[in-house]
């Protein structure tokens, strides 16, 4: 099995008519994702390479039965796009766009929780999600992910970083380890989906045998994940934390990656995870080999 998305997920792309949306939307379709619709209020009735364009997510949902949306709308329009998706009736929203104002993020995160508790938002500023062999939504290169092998031990991945996620997928593939789902939760201060949201589902997913978690400096999401792992997880977790040598007070690329007031250091996160029984790699390659070691020992 996989978490959040699978072969039955039908996706509407908000921004399919833009260059990024079109590029990745078509790549996702080539991968096998059910890309059923795009939206653009000015281009309803048109098509993008055979994919019908609707005026709104609600129209797309009623015409195609879309269950998920993927947002490739520029940052100023993201707040409206997220609400349009939720009101339109999809259950899962993937927001790839980076540079969304934190005030907007904090607002729509809470708005969704209150008025649309059944809707799961992933991102913003994330690479998306892939359940290898079934569904790929976002900007992950599908071919670097190995499909889960029935009867074998497979891994679930959750990560705050894009490229490090690809690296993790790639290293597992080289070692012939299959991946059930790989979730990029993104590097922003208020991610729609947290580590814990993913860990909870991986724990419940019978096909996932172990989890690889890639965190980075800033905030306390990794520490919270460590508490969850300690209290609630039976499956082994391997982790890597980026930014072990990042200076305090400097944002390291991601809006959320900053050590401030002595909080959010990699050291504290690694200690919390180690304390929760997680094996923590010093660098991505080491985390990759630890993961393989763990999976082979199961």
């Amino acid at each position: 099995m996989s978490i959040f998305v699978d072969e039955n997920t039908k996706v509407v792309y908000q921004g399919l008519t833009g260059s990024q949306g079109r590029y990745y939307g078509l790549l996702n379709r080539d991968y096998g994702t059910q890309v059923v619709a795009g939206t653009n209020p000015k281009k309803a009735g048109e098509e993008v390479d055979g994919i019908p364009i609707f005026a709104s997510v609600a129209d797309a949902v009623s015409a195609t039965g879309a269950t998920a949306s993927c947002i490739f709308i520029p940052a100023p329009g993201v707040k409206a796009a997220v609400m349009e998706a939720a009101e339109g009736g999809v259950e899962f929203i993937v927001c790839i766009t980076e540079g969304v104002p934190a005030q907007d993020e904090a607002w729509f995160f809470n708005k969704l929780q209150r008025d649309f508790p059944g809707v799961q938002l992933l991102g913003p500023n994330c690479p998306g999600i892939i359940s290898p062999g079934k569904c790929n939504i976002g900007i992950t290169a599908g071919h670097i992910a190995k499909e889960p092998v029935p009867g074998e031990k497979n891994v679930g991945i959750v990560s705050r970083s894009g490229t490090l996620t690809y690296q993790a997928l790639y290293e597992l593939k080289l070692q012939d380890v299959g991946v059930t789902t790989c979730v990029g939760i993104g590097g922003d201060p208020v991610p729609g989906t947290s580590f814990i949201d993913c860990l909870e589902r991986f724990e419940a997913d019978p096909e996932t045998s172990a989890v690889m978690m890639i965190g980075e400096i800033g905030g306390s999401a990794e520490e919270e994940a460590a508490e969850f792992i300690k209290a609630r997880m039976s499956k082994p977790v391997v982790a890597y934390i980026a930014g072990q040598t990042a200076p305090a007070g400097k944002k390291m690329g991601h809006a959320g990656a900053i050590v401030s007031g002595g909080k959010g250091t990699a050291k504290a996160k690694m200690e919390a995870l180690t304390d929760a029984g997680v094996r923590v790699g010093a660098h991505p390659t080491e985390a990759g080999s630890l993961m393989v070691e763990v999976i082979r020992s199961l």
Partner: protein
């Protein structure tokens, strides 16, 4: 984006928060002229730097006369406060202080709500108060969808046990400060001290504001942007639209993706080297971006070697390799370069780089090997 105090006060004033009258100046003569124009004594001469601890460093002085303004401005302009050289001073009308409070709003990432902090113990570092007397800080968590209403603000002020005389003024300022924080797209707004004057008015005596650069598209922030303190390297990178942070070491870093770039710094440190910078060129790695990144790194005299760490995802290895080759044709690089190229079509990409390899341009199969080589090369020069 951190604002100077005077900009923070202008920002506050645009939301009708009461602040002291004053002028920002860059020369001693202008400081004197500003004080004469204000014509209310005493005035305060305050260093404008993006760091705390100005008072202790001698960056805040009271002046009772033109002569004293001249003396203090002369001493403060050019002063080094924790590595920040003072180029601007703010001359403001002095305030009579009865009591000093603390007020701030920021995002609580863990609760995913806005966090307001209010304390009757202001004028000192709030971290120190949190340490010694945590109960002295009244905290409220605000759901962004609800916002802050007057009744809640009133209860909050009561919980913080401010002087009852300050209640009306504090409630008014807190409501305005919340608006400044949300509508103004700030990551942090802090008033320390928030003062009660003997006359009963409440007033923001200091202003610490960090704006969310992601929201620049809906504000007029050009003036704030123009005064950001960046070193030359950071400024050059900023102009090229690159995600760059200057560091103190000797190995120049170029990587695609913030996570991978951070990870590259870690690995360079782990093998005994020290990175000169963080530089994320983003997902693609075309020749333009690569050339721009190399130019920025090349202009940094402390760089002794360069480590290019690329993991191809959607962008294929051959595109990355062609980008690197073309960039190297455009920019003449002094320091030796070590490349690690992995991911999608890495073999094809390496084949393209192969004929260009030399002592000056090396390739290593893994991140760790590449880091070791780059660190060794930096040590040799």
């Amino acid at each position: 984006m951190d604002l100077f105090e005077y900009q923070g006060k202008q920002f506050f004033a645009s939301f009708d928060i009461p602040v002291s009258a004053g002028e920002a100046v860059t020369t001693v003569e202008d400081a004197v002229a500003a004080a004469e124009r204000l014509d209310q004594w005493p005035v305060v001469v305050k260093a404008q730097v993006h760091t705390g601890g100005r008072g202790k460093a001698g960056g805040v002085k009271l002046a009772n006369s033109v002569e004293e303004v001249r003396e203090h401005a002369t001493n403060i302009l050019g002063l080094d406060i924790k590595g920040h050289i003072v180029k601007i001073v703010w001359i403001e009308v002095g305030s009579d202080i009865a009591e000093e409070y603390y007020a701030s709003f920021t995002l609580d990432r863990s609760a995913k709500k806005h966090l307001g902090m209010l304390s009757a113990q202001g004028g000192v570092e709030i971290e120190a108060v949190a340490e010694s007397d945590p109960d002295a800080i009244a905290k409220i968590w605000i759901d962004p969808v609800d916002g802050l209403d007057e009744a809640t603000a009133r209860e909050w002020v009561a919980a913080a046990k401010l002087n009852p005389q300050a209640t009306e003024g504090a409630v008014d300022i807190l409501l305005k400060l919340y608006r400044a924080y949300t509508e103004g797209d700030a990551d942090l707004v802090e008033i320390n001290p928030l003062i009660l004057k003997p006359t009963g008015e409440v007033h923001a005596l200091d202003a610490k504001v960090t704006l969310d650069a992601n929201a620049a598209f809906r504000h007029e922030w050009a003036e704030y942007e123009a005064t950001q303190s960046r070193d030359e390297r950071e400024q050059a990178a900023h102009e090229k639209g690159l995600q760059y942070v200057g560091l103190d070491g000797s190995v120049g870093i170029i990587a695609n993706g913030a996570g991978l770039a951070m990870s590259t710094l870690d690995v360079v440190n782990q093998v005994g080297g020290s990175p000169a910078n963080f530089l994320d060129i983003g997902g693609g790695a075309n020749a333009d971006v690569m050339a721009g990144a190399l130019e920025v790194i090349n202009n940094d005299p402390s760089v002794k070697s360069i480590f290019i760490n690329i993991f191809g995802g959607i962008t294929r290895g051959e595109e990355v390799a062609n980008g690197i080759v073309e960039a190297l044709n455009r920019v003449t690089i002094d320091a030796p370069i070590v490349i690690r190229l992995d991911g999608t079509n890495a073999d094809e990409g390496r084949a393209i780089l192969e004929p260009h390899l030399s002592g000056q341009l090396q390739m290593q199969p893994t991140m760790l090997d590449a880091a070791r080589t780059a660190v060794a090369l930096a040590a040799d020069r």
